[in-house]
Point group: C2
């Protein structure tokens, strides 16, 4: 059959189908019903839609009428201004008149619950079973999906599985009374399909799933999935693995293959897997799955969907600097869907197809393709969403006969999260349902081949102007995050670790003025996970070397200062390129010398690259002199100039990023640098030297001078030739530097400039309506990521009383779930702290918590020589206690119980520090208050407090957290520069260049037409 | 006669006239001659024109072939790239081939001299007399103008007059042999006009002319003019006063009236005055002159010109913030010319008219008007420029019969400055000569009535979009400079001085938290010109008051911080309005308490207003949060927040401006201020308090706390509640503050921020080709303005050997010319220094100069109790001597003789300070080198080093001159603010607002068309 014939048949099928739907509208778009009114309002008003979705999102947490009313007000304004749609059905009750607020709220709440009931098949097992029974009587098969909160701990994973077990028991009972659909005499619907069918989300099976750790993740999921599947099999049921976000996709596919090939289940065919057509890589995936099935001679089943995470995948990719993994034009997805469906249908012997779509074109295409390819009826079926499109599913049933409804099960309000996605999809501009039922797009247009649509779109786009990048500095792009779903990336990291370990034990000399300079005084640098491993042996500078380094920097200064800013910027870009080439290796050094986990270490290098690129861009921006004033006859140029010799005193916790940031800023601004790496990470520090060397930085511009703080610190800070000190570290050291630098010696040529980033005692406020699905993992990462050794780390969780118990319980469950071990193994959430003294200091604070408060949780630590400390959660600590006031710099979190939001905010501000802060809340007024009143350098709303990104979240604090402008931000470079103004009088003998006069509004000059006047000299 | 009839006759006349010109072209536009080629090149290429004018400007200083060649290279590139026109006539000599560079230069120089000879009637008296004789033989009368350098001293004024005297002697001799023109039998040309006629520039008669001091200026001019006029009268000659720049116009008019009405000369009618039609006020002026003539029954003579300072007047007005005083459309000037001419012709009995124009329309209109009004022939004549338009003047003579040529006399190359103006005018787009001889504009168009032209222009403009202000911050405008030509302004200042003096002796209390607070400890503040005058008695703060003030500022802080930035900015604008209302009074307080001259004091208040307005604009700019990053799903807002309590420690030398600038910046940024005025100017400091009070600033935001530095300084700086110290003053105090503030006390909540503007030891380099006409007055003003008591003051003039003697001689002449006395009298260039200790310190330095160098000049000082010191010029001081290294802060200038430019530059940089610097040079490469290598905060090229203007010349230095960003510049406010970033995760359950996705490049969302997928929680 030709393509045209097939298209004709698809159109015929589609027309019949649409005719079957008739004039019936789904409740979603039925404006005489409340849900329809709401959707109608959403489609008309984007802002209302956002507010409604956000309100529905917080709804499950609004357990009191008071909080419900308050949120209703906050999201939609006061009763008077409440959108008419929300008042619907209330008029009789006197809304806006004398009705008590609580009654109005109660009515709205009721409406919302009713709406949820349209989409959720049942809240209890018995409700669900009864409803499924009815559906079956109407001729529909089902698959059940158990709704729930996010799985942030192993206990929650257990609970998720338990939910299925309970439901399976009920279904098992019920199915005895269920005749098979399609009138078959056996127990299989339509003669081939199990009556019980469940859909399972793999990410809910294991709280520690991580793309970097495929094996561990698959294993963690299997542990819970196998018994569950065994129970399904025992009932003769079907289990389908949902495919969720792309980052878990490969893990899910691997999970599917393991389970399908498990000797216990090989013979049992009823195991399915979802494939998402919107992913660009899905065609390849489908090919591989089909090939696998043939190779293993194991028939498989694929539920082909279009994909429900488009926003998320797009946002994540954009935020991570990745290529967008999904198609950006809907018709591309539709076309891919048809191609994949055809692949599967052509392999129907090896793979059963569940065609899951509401799109008439898609359904018709699959139906006609199957027909054309003579695919037996039992090798494919159609699926639709429960509650979403009633007229559609009936028509679908008439047209295709084998229809399975995807039925969410669970409590109504918590299930609202599910609703959100559904509503979002179906009110999107290109939603098939919206187009069909709202916009009344003409039938043939709806049935148009996606290839034809694409051709049309392409033709339209070619006539438009090319799209331009909007926002931000067009020239600067953040380095991409690691994508551990990529096996090559995982392999590269593992190889780099091996290579780095082979390079252990080398000796590192100083580099001064371009010369390697060894010293007799040497110190080993060790792997904190195994102090017996010597990462490198590092020469230590003495007073002579400090003097030499300053002299070298001083000598290099004039030449470097006079190098053009763009040439200096180019040098940074070359260094960035060098770092990019070696990114895995550079990260691996950090994993082994600083105990940084894969992602943390990779992002540290990425941040170093970002600093190089960003400051290069910034220098180019600042290098262009600014013309001030508009008066003719003078030019005023405002520009910046280098300051001199800079001492860069770096910390160990971001051993490359912060070292590189401070150095790069100083260098690109035309200063020369004496770089003292931290004593704990001198080998990583040496990699910075290597990068600059590879870039070809002139000798003496960057001098690598490791050494003891006692020997070098004051000597550098006090030295009259050092004009600039850039420091990141503890408050105590920072203040000492400021004090020393504040004394200007008579032989000094300039007052010293000190840039000091110091400590933090950062709080995350957890409001009573915080989304704990997000707050718990965010606090976990913020408090314990890299063992809490970040100045941005959360060390206080200030939790509003009403949610305190739930938060703490889930947090402790999450804490119990994680594992501790060497950072080089991605299975471990937490690793060792940096050294023995840190270990002792942190253990001291934990002792203090035991003494003055309560240690609610302290994890086991590995039995090893590594510098491990327990992940610790302290409670019942007074907010002014040293534990809640001093920077611990380790994995110790104080959870404070605040009476209310006001108190939480007051406590959050009540420290000497003001670096980062966080808030989890879904109360707009609280968000707004924190924005203004939680006075920290970097405030994060509804996300964790760590991981600031160059250019996006310029980083730095106030109060005792630091002095100076934010790193990675638009004011940072100014600190390394002095501004100058050059004013030139351009008028000579009363004459100014014409251009200047014109720009000043003059229309002409020379009024005299040769009048008899001689010019005298002008003053 | 109707207007139309008159127009017809004007056109007839014009046609005859043009016919008479025929095809002859003036040499200026004759492209077969060198001058014509040059002009042609200028008209084609604006850049070449600029370079040529600049080269001609410097030409007189190029006394060696070497410097001539070097400049030729610098202005026009190497020999190879030299524009063809400059090589003209050299080809035969082998230019570009083997010809020695010096020969080529010599030829070019010769060409330029020949060109000058076209426009300058003679270089010596005998040359001039001979040439004038020839002109008379051709039927032309003449007026002679003696060219010369600017008059920067009284000796030069004497020399100017002497030049005329010499020429008059020669002319007197010669006229005996001159028959009268027009064939009359007596000695008068045409029966009524003296044969000898000279034009005199009043500004050259007196070096200290100042619009603020009309009486003194007129007197100073009369002293030299009367004897000169007496000599002219003795020869039966005519003298015409040229009107020059507008700022001297009223003085010139007054000078004319005094001389005309002088009993000695009343009976002698031959005294003329020039009136410039391009000035908008000239019609009014003409009316007043005619009325005066009638009232006094003294016939007068007016030379009506269009005006030759259009560029200058426009630039000056734009730079000064004044309305443009000249017409901006040429036809407006032409129309005004005809109107004024008509006025005069209608009053021909009282006023003789000299119509000075090359414009055929203008000349025709005047001729026909005179004819129509029956003006007798002896009551008007026509004038043209010598050398500018030969065919024109012949035609003019034929048409009008009475033509006088305006003949410059003087040395050729120094006369080049004159040439520049002439060339400029006649190659301007709207020049009549250019239109006639180059562009060949059709005759009738050239004869069109200016009214008709204006109507056409207006019609064209109404169809265009309205013009927009370009450049700079549109919202901010500098306060206008004082315009002392305005009698009302002069009167206002004088009245304000009287009113202020009446308010002397009051007692000033502290103002803390909005409450007046007196103390028993009081100090008088005196008039430095007369210490017996007590300006005010000022309460002094003790330790208690300091604590109270800090508490008040602390209490006011939260409310003020939380006031919106725009409301804070509005408060500044109200304060600016208050200051503007009282500007003369506020200035007068400074004159009497700080010894500031009128202009200096007025500009100090204007600068205060500028700071208020500029920081208000800046705060509005900075208040808008910046959205960073373009990734969807998060918003990153970068914004600024207040720091806390600021101590503002102010100096006395800009007692309002700097106090106000530091305070306004702190306040608008949301901080609260404790303001300690200088002990020497507490009453001016109180006016700042008044301004803020008038603006309605909330209590406690600005606290006026005068007191002793010893009591208050450290207490404020050290206080843990003071977060910010803004200081302007000496280096010693600044460094002490930095040291004290560098120690952070344990109870402090933040590291202290110190902004310190300190001293300077500023140099002006005078290059060997510096324009001394400009350099000498600029050094005078920079070194001795306000007695040298500015941190920006020039205290070193570093003069390149080749020009040293000429510079020093002219500078010393200028110094000898100025007078010293109370600042309240504008006759005095210099006043007293601030107090007795300053007087003693400065006298000490002068003693040092006598001891270790040479006091080349020290002025007399008034015999008075005032704190006067001599204006002092020291020479032969080694560049590393304390006199050349330490800040003297008084009217003591070291003139250093540098071997060459390199040495001058090295010396300029060789101090601990780096505040301002200057260069006078016309060597582009030297200008460029200084721009890069004269490393000072504010570098001024070819102008003085003082008088930085807010927004145009942000002010501040580096090295020991200061810490912090430039005041009045775009980075200044940042110092008073802390940056914060608020990052909000806007994604909930995978959903982001559509707008964000779209801006991130997403074309749609909701790919699933209701695919059977449920959303799980997104991490």
């Amino acid at each position: 059959m030709t393509q045209r014939d097939l298209e004709d048949r698809i159109h015929d099928c589609g027309r019949r189908y649409v005719a079957t739907i008739g004039d019936e509208r789904p409740s979603l778009f039925n404006k005489s019903a409340w849900t329809g009114k709401l959707m109608d309002a959403c489609m008309r008003n984007e802002r209302f839609k956002v507010q409604l979705f956000r309100f529905i999102d917080v709804l499950p947490y609004l357990t009191t009428m008071d909080s419900f009313s308050r949120h209703l007000d906050e999201y939609f304004g006061s009763e008077e201004s409440l959108p008419a749609v929300l008042k619907w059905g209330l008029r009789g009750l006197g809304w806006g008149g004398t009705l008590a607020k609580s009654a109005a709220s109660a009515a709205t709440r009721k409406n919302l619950e009713l709406m949820a009931r349209d989409f959720i098949v049942g809240a209890t097992a018995s409700e669900t079973v009864a409803r499924l029974h009815t559906l079956r009587e109407q001729g529909f098969a089902f698959t059940v999906d158990v709704l729930g909160e996010a799985t942030v701990s192993e206990r929650e994973a257990d609970a998720y599985v338990a939910g299925y077990r309970g439901l399976l028991d009920a279904l098992g009972q019920a199915q005895r009374g269920w005749p098979a659909l399609g009138g078959g005499s056996d127990t299989l619907d339509w003669g081939h399909a199990p009556r019980i069918n469940v859909s399972v989300k793999p990410s809910a099976l294991f709280s520690l799933a991580d793309p970097a750790d495929v094996e561990g993740s698959v294993h963690g999921m299997l542990v819970r999935l196998v018994p569950l599947y065994r129970a399904v099999v025992a009932l003769g049921g079907f289990l389908c693995l949902d495919t969720e976000m792309r980052r878990f996709k490969n893990i899910t596919f691997e999970l599917y293959r393991r389970l399908r090939a498990d000797p216990e289940f090989r013979a049992y065919p009823h195991l399915g897997l979802a494939v998402q057509a919107y992913l660009r890589e899905s065609e390849q995936d489908a090919d591989e799955l089909l090939e696998w099935a043939r190779r293993e001679t194991l028939p498989i089943s694929i539920r082909l969907v279009k994909g429900a995470y488009w926003d998320y995948e797009t946002v994540l990719a954009r935020q991570s600097g990745w290529p967008i993994p999904v198609y950006t034009v809907k018709a591309e997805t539709d076309a891919a869907y048809e191609r994949i469906a055809e692949k599967i249908l052509r392999n129907h012997d090896a793979c059963h197809l569940a065609c899951a779509s509401h799109n008439v074109r898609t359904v018709s295409a699959v139906a006609e393709l199957a027909h054309t390819l003579d695919v037996p009826a039992h090798r494919y079926e159609f699926q639709a969403l429960y509650g979403m499109a009633e007229p559609f599913r009936k028509a679908l049933l008439k047209t295709t006969r084998r229809v399975r409804l995807y039925c969410p099960h669970g409590r109504l309000l918590p299930g609202m999260a599910y609703l959100i996605r559904r509503l979002l999809e179906n009110t999107a501009n290109e939603s098939f349902l919206r187009q069909t039922f709202v916009e009344g797009v003409e039938r043939d247009r709806l049935l148009e081949s996606p290839r034809a649509v694409l051709a049309r779109v392409a033709a339209e786009q070619s006539t438009r102007a090319p799209a331009r990048e909007s926002g931000g500095d067009a020239a600067f792009r953040n380095e991409a995050f690691p994508d551990w779903t990529d096996a090559a990336a995982r392999q590269a990291y593992a190889s780099a670790l091996g290579a780095v370990r082979k390079a252990f034990g080398r000796t590192y000399a100083l580099s001064i003025g371009g010369q390697e300079m060894g010293t007799g005084d040497r110190e080993p640098s060790v792997n904190p996970a195994n102090p017996d491993e010597v990462v490198g042996v590092v020469c230590q500078a003495g007073p002579d070397e400090v003097e030499r380094a300053i002299a070298a920097a001083r000598n290099a200064f004039p030449g470097w200062r006079d190098t053009s800013p763009s040439a200096r910027a180019e040098m940074l870009r070359k260094a960035a390129a060098a770092a990019r080439r070696r990114i895995f290796e550079l990260a691996a050094w950090q994993t082994l010398e600083a105990g940084k986990q894969w992602t943390e270490a990779y992002l540290d290098v990425a941040e170093a690259i970002d600093f190089l690129e960003y400051y290069a861009c910034e220098m180019r921006r600042l290098a262009a002199p600014r013309r001030l004033g508009a008066a003719p006859g003078e030019t005023n140029e405002y520009f910046y100039e280098s300051k001199g010799v800079a001492a860069v005193l770096a910390p160990w916790n971001f051993p490359l990023a912060i070292s590189c940031g401070m150095s790069a800023a100083a260098i690109v601004a035309g200063n020369t640098v004496i770089y003292k790496p931290s004593r704990s990470t001198p080998v990583v520090g040496h990699t910075l030297h290597q990068i600059f060397q590879e870039a070809g930085l002139p000798a003496g511009v960057f001098n690598y001078v490791p050494g003891r703080s006692g020997v070098m610190g004051d000597a550098l800070v006090r030295h009259p030739q050092v004009g600039l000190i850039a420091f990141t570290g503890s408050m105590e050291t920072g203040l000492h530097i400021l004090e020393v630098a504040g004394c200007t010696l008579p032989i000094q040529s300039a007052v010293k400039k000190v840039i000091a980033e110091m400590g933090g005692k950062n709080a995350i406020i957890v409001d009573d309506d915080a989304d704990l699905d997000e707050a718990v993992p965010a606090v976990m990462r913020s408090a314990f990521g890299y063992q809490g050794q970040k100045c941005s780390a959360c060390s206080r969780a200030i939790v509003v009383d009403a949610i305190y118990d739930r938060f703490l319980e889930r947090l402790m469950d999450a804490a119990r779930s994680v594992r501790i071990g060497p950072a080089e193994d991605p299975a471990y959430f937490m690793g060792p702290v940096i050294d023995r003294s840190a270990q002792e200091r942190i253990l001291g604070y934990i002792g203090l918590a035991q003494q003055d408060g309560r240690v609610a949780f302290a994890s086991e630590v590995p039995k090893s020589k590594g510098f491990y400390v327990p992940l610790t959660i302290a409670t019942e600590v007074p907010p002014d206690h040293p534990l809640a006031q001093e920077e611990i710099f380790g994995p110790v979190l104080c959870v404070l119980r605040a009476r209310n939001f006001d108190q939480a905010l007051a406590w959050a501000n009540a420290t000497r520090f003001a670096l980062t802060g966080g808030l989890f809340s879904r109360t707009p007024s609280h968000i707004e208050r924190c924005r203004r009143e939680l006075r920290v350098g970097n405030l994060y709303i509804n996300r964790g407090t760590t991981g600031a990104i160059v250019g996006r979240q310029p980083f730095g604090g106030v109060k005792m957290s630091g002095v100076g402008a934010k790193a990675g931000g638009p004011d940072y470079l100014l600190q390394f520069l002095d501004a100058r103004v050059v004013t030139e009088n351009t008028m000579r003998r009363g004459f100014v260049p014409f251009e200047e006069l014109r720009s000043a509004g003059g229309t002409m000059h020379g009024q005299s037409d040769g009048g008899v006047r001689s010019g005298r000299d002008i003053q």
